[in-house]
Amino acid sequence: MSLAAQLIDLLAALLLLMAFAMLAQRRLMALIGLFAFQGALLAASTAVVAWSTGQAHLWWSAGLTALLKAVVLPLVLRRLAVRLAVARDVEPLVNVPTTLLVGIALVVVAFDLALPMAELAGTITRGTLGIAMACVLLSLLMMITRRRAIAQVIGFLSLENGLFFAATGATYGMPMVVELGIALDVLVGVLVFGIFFFRIRETFDSLDVEHLEKLGDRG
């Protein structure tokens, strides 16, 4: 097994670890920190793929990921959290061990799903597809279990991380144009979310998404 593949495996495992850590994290600020770290890991894994396969555009992609996901987005989120005065909030979580157990089950499911796909993929990093899938599922789980809107956005972004990792791992990345498009999309998405937060807050004086459920009743 080449060093590159081993490194990818390690980074993939760490990525999964981050996904679990985010699932268990109560505090928003720490959550944002974990998200930044996940972004950095993603950038590193892209860089390793770029290095081992010698594809120049992947270097760009790695750089972009590092800049956007490890620096810009966490900073934006941090400022949002501070401005919305939810920085010190503690997320009310449903029973952490139970969530994590569900998470483990999801990992198994993800690997089971990824197995046939991984057989088809001829890349050096076959085992990582399962992990990428698991990351996606875990991010979804995180979005389900969270109550604060900002934590759900982090879940959404981490979901995007998982997809991106699947792309680099399985197909050596997408064409540059697509990647740029996605990156911009995410940025715009976060901006929209940012505005959205302020609107929710103005209306309900809280960022608890449970308030949104009442909207239906009002008609």
Partner: protein, 259 residues
């Protein structure tokens, strides 16, 4: 020594100390091929540590004070959760190497060509968590506390004095050493001298000293920056350790062995 206590209170320190000495003699820290090593593998080692703990808890309850049984109650709570996590951690290198004998694990991991084991990283994190919990270190217990109501390990030693206390404390220090030794053997086995190579022993000793120094430093930093958690967070903490170990195992099984 408490007046009402039975022989258990006197016997327990020797028993705990004996168990720890034996445990220390099984873990290969400097060289492999230790005389007692074939007697027990990692699973028996866990059993050995559990024996020591049971005697300690029994002795704590023996004196019959409210604090002793309080300490025993909490110790059993922590231990009951730490043990499965510890076993899980042990299974991982065992799966990689295909043996539960510490000697074999060390020999295989130390002398095989370099390979990254992602799952070992998970096991290492889980192991550190178990180590903190089992050795009454800060996030779970405060070894320096003098608040009667918060302590776990100290509460059990409340009735001891003199030589018995010395033995208990010595055994406790040995336990930390054993854990450090296990950690080194599983996750950083480089530099351990193979059986029968006496010439490599000094180098191995130096390597051990260096590793222990780094480990001690890391432990000190970890303890300084973290606060003690609420006692009912401990199950969550150890549950996390267990899940991490399981996750590592899953990754090992699903990523497949290093190709």
């Amino acid at each position: 020594m408490a007046r009402d206590a039975s022989f258990l209170l006197r016997f327990a320190p020797y028993c705990v100390f004996g168990c720890m000495v034996l445990a220390a003699s099984i873990v290969p820290m400097v060289a492999t091929g230790l005389p007692f090593a074939p007697a027990a593998d990692v699973i028996a080692l866990v059993g050995l540590l559990a024996t020591a703990r049971v005697f300690m808890a029994l002795a704590a309850m023996d004196a019959g004070t409210a604090f002793g049984s309080m300490g025993a109650r909490r110790e059993m709570l922590v231990a009951g959760l730490a043990e499965p996590a510890l076993l899980m951690v042990f299974f991982m290198p065992s799966l990689i190497v295909g043996s539960t004998s510490l000697t074999t694990i060390v020999e295989t991991l130390a002398y095989q060509p370099f390979a990254l084991h992602p799952s070992l990283a998970f096991a290492a994190v889980a192991f550190v968590m178990v180590l903190l919990a089992e050795n009454a270190r800060i996030p779970v217990d405060n070894p320096a506390t003098h608040l009667e109501l918060t302590m776990i390990h100290e509460a059990m030693l409340l009735e001891y004095s003199g030589r018995y206390l010395a033995l208990m404390e010595w055994a406790h220090a040995l336990k930390l050493m054993v854990y450090a030794g296990i950690g080194i053997a599983l996750f950083a086995p480089w530099g351990v001298s193979p059986a029968g190579r006496w010439d490599l022993v000094p180098a191995a000793l130096a390597a051990l000293a260096a590793k222990l120094f780094i480990g001690g430093l890391a432990l000190a930093i970890l303890e300084t920056v973290s606060a003690k958690m609420r006692i009912f967070r401990a199950p969550e903490f150890l549950g996390m350790a267990f899940l991490l170990a399981v996750l590592g195992m899953l990754i090992l099984l699903l990523q497949g062995p290093p190709r």
